[in-house]
């Protein structure tokens, strides 16, 4: 038996992986260049409140489409020298914490329901000052969502 010859023989000749690696690398580079990463983004939806008066009143509108909703108003004012802060006023609550604001407007909703108003008739209208920064309005909107209000919209500035 020729052992040396057996040792020299290349026993396992698997498929050549190098071209596969090349193809896979090309696909990877394509995906890295063509794709764009989308950060975690979400959307706060506002079904435009349709009221008999206010910003969203439309001329020549079919009266049957106007819903006589009861509004829960939140006033938002800018604070600070550079309008870097805000204060939201809803009923007896005055502050800038969205969780406390959510609790306050939940209490107001319960009072409205006890007075005979249906829950689906209540809409939150945010009335901001002209100088209030957009990020603070989003905080107030968020507070309304935390309090489980689905009808949230914006009113005229003051």
């Amino acid at each position: 038996m020729n052992v040396k010859a057996a040792k020299k023989a290349h026993i396992e000749a698997g498929p050549n992986m190098t071209p596969l690696v090349d193809v896979v690398m090309v696909i990877l580079i394509f995906l890295m260049l063509a794709g764009s990463f989308v950060g975690a983004e979400n959307y706060l939806q506002s079904k435009m409140p349709v009221r008999k008066g206010g910003v969203s009143t439309l001329k020549n509108q079919d009266p049957n489409t106007i819903i006589d909703d009861k509004t829960l108003d939140i006033m938002v004012d800018a604070r600070g020298s550079d309008h870097d802060d805000f204060v939201a006023t809803a009923g007896s609550y005055k502050g800038n914490n969205d969780e406390d604001l959510a609790k306050a407007i939940t209490t107001m909703r319960q009072q409205m329901i006890r007075s005979g108003i249906r829950e689906d008739q209540i809409q939150v209208v945010i009335n901001p000052g002209r100088d209030v920064k957009y990020k603070f309005l989003v905080k107030v909107f968020q507070a309304a969502n935390i309090a489980s209000f689905t009808k949230v919209g914006f009113g005229s500035s003051h």
Binding site: L20, V38, N42, Y43, K133, Q142
Partner: protein, 163 residues
């Protein structure tokens, strides 16, 4: 004593199988995470506000993203959106003005015209407002009014999750 010679060394190529496994994992990662070829017209340079609430919009087909960017030299917001070109029909990034006095009278309210065209007979049309965090409400309000006057039923505020 029997001498043992050095065994013959065949040319040993590096084992590339684990490399392929790693690269395949990376490909699957990029295929799942990246969005290829989807351009909603969202201006990624705008610093949108943070919010923990909100929904995902699965079907972006029936939406228009209106970008409101803050400008360095003025408090007025720059409005732009991806709108279909009148002649070619292809979506193009276009600057829009609430009132553009350089246009003929009937075409001055550019935002209104675009929104009316999209929202007319379209109950499920969704206007997405992608505005800079530091814009004052005085810049957002005219856009909301334009949406209301154009009979847009749903307006969504684009926000991002906090870090």
């Amino acid at each position: 004593m029997r001498k043992h010679g050095m065994p013959e060394v065949n040319d040993s190529h590096p084992n590339v199988t684990p490399l392929i496994d790693v690269v395949m994992c990376l490909i699957i990662f990029f295929m799942l995470v990246a969005k290829i070829g989807v351009n909603t017209g969202a201006d990624q340079s705008i610093n949108i506000p943070e919010s923990i609430m909100g929904k995902k919009i699965e079907d972006m087909g029936n939406t228009l993203v209106l970008n409101l960017a803050k400008q360095s030299d003025t408090t007025a917001a720059k409005i732009c959106a991806l709108v279909p070109d009148k002649e070619t029909g292809k979506p193009e990034k276009k600057d829009l003005m609430l009132i553009n006095r350089s246009r003929p009278e009937k075409e001055q309210k550019e935002v209104h015209i675009v929104l009316l065209a999209l929202a007319e007979h379209n109950e499920n049309f969704n206007l997405i407002i992608r505005a800079d965090s530091d814009l004052p409400y005085s810049e957002i309000e005219p856009v909301l009014m334009a949406a209301a006057e154009s009979k847009v039923k749903t307006v969504s505020l684009n926000t991002k999750l906090p870090n």
